[in-house]
Amino acid sequence: MKILRVSNLTKIFAQPSRMLTIFRREKDFLKAVDNVTFDIEENEVIGVVGESGSGKTTLVKTIVRLIEPDYGKIEFMGKDITHINQKQLRPLRRHFQIIFQNPFLSLNPTRKIKDIIGDVIKLHKIDNVTVEQVLEDVGLPKDYIYRYPHQLSGGERQRVAIARALVLRPKLIVADEITSSLDIVTQIGILNLLKEIRKRWMTSMIFVSHDLAVINYISDRVLVMYAGKVVEEGVTREVIDNPRHPYTQALVDSVPDIEGNWNPKYSYDEKDIVSVPPGCKFSHRCPFAFDKCYKSEPNLIQLSTGRKVACHLYEEGGQFFRSG
């Protein structure tokens, strides 16, 4: 069963340079999320990867309706939630929960763990789970309920944030860079916890990260984002073993491996994402770019089953085009 179906989702932000709408020109708008389409099956984990500013966070926040979408459609368990009002949305929220990047900011510092999680239980009238139970589920001692967030370490705080989402037994957990502020030993603990949650409750997940190694560890499928667009989509293992889009190749290159033959090669241009060129948004950084790339924007095309890429190189006439 499809848990979530996102079609043509677009979010446009106005650049602050021109606040008055009538004076705005085309380039004063930033497409943070540009025509994104994908879906998630039950118990599937989707990874979203890309560099800072590529629109990963905006995408997932729009999906859980913390940011209002401009165009497109979000269907959650067959129900269109794109434009329903907050009152209709609230009872559905228990089925999709988001966990944020910074556990120092996402937990209220003036309240005890008991209240932080207890509020959620009260609001959604949950009667089969207690705060102590859910703390145990995420691997924290029961007596933590009387603690304040500042008394916990970063990893423990992130576990509390997971517990707050988990207490509702959601169908979908959206995890937005939840391990990027943790060191690697703590990180692996959190990732294993998520894997266990997925197995135990058949939860689906959207896992956002800029680190392909993390995505590789946790996700089944991956969406590679660049400048608001999905540039490559496929089974995580296949995408990493055989990256098609030049940007995905750069991402794969940039993960250090332990054997010490790491050699990230990349040209750098500061204006990278915000001032997008016409044509393919990646063209000015792409080592393979040819004339077509500077003129028209590539669409996401199907390469093989489940594998999609948005790159002219794989279209007819492109360097890597293979017919049939």
Partner: protein, 263 residues
Amino acid sequence: MAALLKVQGLTISFQQNEVVKNVSFEVEQGEIFGLVGQSGAGKSMTGRAIIRLLPPTAKVSGRIFFKGHDLLSLSEKEMRKIRGNEITLIQQDPVASLNPVFKIRDQITDVIKLHLKLDDKEAINRARNLFTEVGIPNPEKVLLKYPHQLSGGLCQRVAIAIAFACEPSLVVADEPTTALDVITQGMVVNLMKRMQKQFNTSIIFITHNLALASNICSRIAVMNDGQLLEVILSKNILTGSNHPYTRTLLSSLLTLNRRADAA
């Protein structure tokens, strides 16, 4: 080669709490030396002790020899001649390590003017050259900006330029890439390696990522809970260590495990 830096029995404590316990190691001239461990292992405190930037409540004992002088016995006045000049620091959060109320130009030229005794014009020239060196596009424009107007990767480039401004002998790099995304991380690491070669600087590279350390350092010191557990050659990292904690670090490391046949 003679050791540039010799740390002997360094112990740092806050009240009754020992955060660094009897740590000793040596860093050679022109070497990149890794300090690896989890958060709270005492890596940063060790780094900050070397550049003498610990909070005033810290109690420090032991000795830190830099070019034969014990840094811990120097007066603050003498230390100031060394700090920012011969020993410099690159911090984790590039946006926070720059002063938000001054333009980039003032922040880099202050260092140059103070230590190299150059006048305004020469200092700006030197800053411009350094910016070109670290690959900042449009150095002229960036000089006139404030830190908040630049991206994280660009701020870190500025911080690196400032750290290398006076051609230091030793750079303490405290998790310089942790706040950056992977692509920017690759660029910053390449840049630091290049600068290190060019000036034959020694770098103490502090990180929690063993894979990153093994790629850029010649030797790696593994720290946990304030203690230095072992110093190991990077090329032996996979096979040469029997220490259980190093094994833990290795096993929590995530890599891509790419297959060799991948195109």
